[in-house]
Symmetry: C2
Subunit: 255 residues, 2 copies
């Protein structure tokens, strides 16, 4: 069966896309079939993989899999990424129009989960959603669609302040909207040797205990690999960053 | 007359709130009356000033200044910040509900600009909008309301990729929606001595020439001051960061 993973945090710039793409690639290196879907209108999953943004996410979100011809239409937007076993549905700015449409149509919380019927024949072992830094309909439906949610958060005060709001969104979905998935964990990112970073990690562990995953250190290679359109495993396979993201993949494989 | 400034960039974590709050404070240190309005559902302008998020932005966005009693009602949400001449309309997660309401009501592009009539008696010399990392109705209306837009961008490839989308949103507003304001400039942030940062700045200056403002260096004090609820001028008045934000304020004062 397919496991659905959503990467979410309303705070901006905390490493959501970096985590989505590197986790997706790491799982394929363990011979898993993975589909990455970019629900952020910035369309940066494509950029990070050296590809162009496209309206794949728009059509995924606005086409109900009601008949074989609609399923075929959406599946045409699945793109090869040049990495074995890793496919992408790219997004672009049109994703924000799709988001408006869902809001105005007042689609149910299960809307995105139901769209995944399009891929039952594809035998993906993991489907990973990258999301935008925002609140609102699309975020909640993408979390509700997930079996597991990963919340990257930078180890700094500003991000910890926003984290509690993201976590309470997740809790409300469990308590009020009958969501059956769960929080895989909070992934500390940009971890460095400053007092602020160390104090933030201690704070996180105090509040969320075993839900705090092992941190991703701040590393220039994680910034540089974007300009090359490469994942960390292609740009710096022997780096600590590659190891840290592989550790995350190993954890996901245990669920 | 009052100058309206909007801080905008759909990319997350590039220093929008840091810029909005430090610029606002710097202008008051030059004896200007400033109102800061937080249109981001994260409500972090309040956090950065050591205050709590509140529904001020929700009521500002959903109350038309049609009669004196409505004007009085909205003005009640103007909060003292403890800094002379700096007032805040705080936001919280309810701002995203207001955003939904504006979209469903299909309010005109001039909607936010018209709401500013509420403050004509207050004699603010500057009104500054902080915005969320997203695209869509609220962003565009907040830009359209502005006389001047500042676009902070981190000096890294991922942010430069998203910048072109934010800039094209601004250009479309000029060309198609008859906006009379202008881009004050692109503010490079997180500038450090890495190859990536230096190359990014060179790229920026190549593309946007004199619209690239003098950079804000990466500095730990800019992260640390959040946990104290202080602006850079209170936390580290003699720092390079305080000087760099003062330079930005001096530029704004020239317009
Ligand atoms: N651990 C890290 N160390 C150093 N740089 C990092 C790290 N993680 C991510 N980055 C860099 O920080 C920037 C922001 O990361 P990314 O774009 O993945 O965040 P995001 O949460 O997806 O942002 P947005 O909110 O805009 O979607 C990118 O330039 C990325 O390369
Ligand atoms: N020049 C800088 N040097 C170091 N840290 C900085 C700098 N500018 C901002 N920061 C820190 O980076 C983090 C992100 O900044 P900030 O929250 O202002 O960005 P933002 O664009 O408002 O984010 P969001 O997209 O979530 O609204 C904060 O912890 C802030 O303190
Ligand atoms: Mg992203
Ligand atoms: Mg902000």
């Amino acid at each position: 069966t397919t496991k659905i993973i959503t990467i979410s945090n309303q705070k901006g710039g905390v490493g959501k896309t970096t985590t989505a793409v590197n986790l997706a690639h790491s799982l394929t290196l363990e011979n898993k079939q993975v589909l990455l879907i970019d629900l952020d209108p910035q369309g940066q999953c494509a950029t990070k993989l050296g590809m162009d943004g496209q309206m794949g996410a728009y059509y995924f979100l606005t086409t109900q899999p009601a008949s074989p011809s609609e399923v075929t239409f959406v599946r045409q937007w699945i793109r090869e990424t040049g990495r074995d076993d890793l496919k992408l549905i790219p997004g672009n700015s049109m994703t924000s129009s799709a988001q408006m449409i869902l809001s105005v149509q007042e689609q149910p919380i299960s809307y995105i989960r139901n769209l995944l019927k399009t891929f039952t024949r594809d035998r993906f072992e993991y489907i990973i959603f990258d999301t935008s830094p925002s609140v609102g309909g699309l975020q909640e439906r993408a979390i509700w669609a997930a079996d597991l949610v990963i919340v990257p958060t930078a180890t700094e005060f500003a991000s910890l302040d926003s984290l509690s709001k993201t976590i309470s969104t997740i809790q409300t979905l469990r308590d009020k909207k009958n969501w059956h998935g769960g929080l895989l964990g909070i992934l500390p990112t940009f971890y460095d040797n400053t007092r602020e970073s160390r104090d933030s990690l201690v704070d996180l562990q105090g509040t969320f205990q075993d839900k705090v995953l092992s941190p991703i250190h701040r590393a220039t290679v994680l910034r540089e690999c974007w300009s090359e359109g490469k994942t960390i495993f292609e740009y710096a396979a022997d780096s600590r960053s590659a190891e840290e993201y592989q550790l995350l993949a190993d954890l996901v494989l245990k669920y």
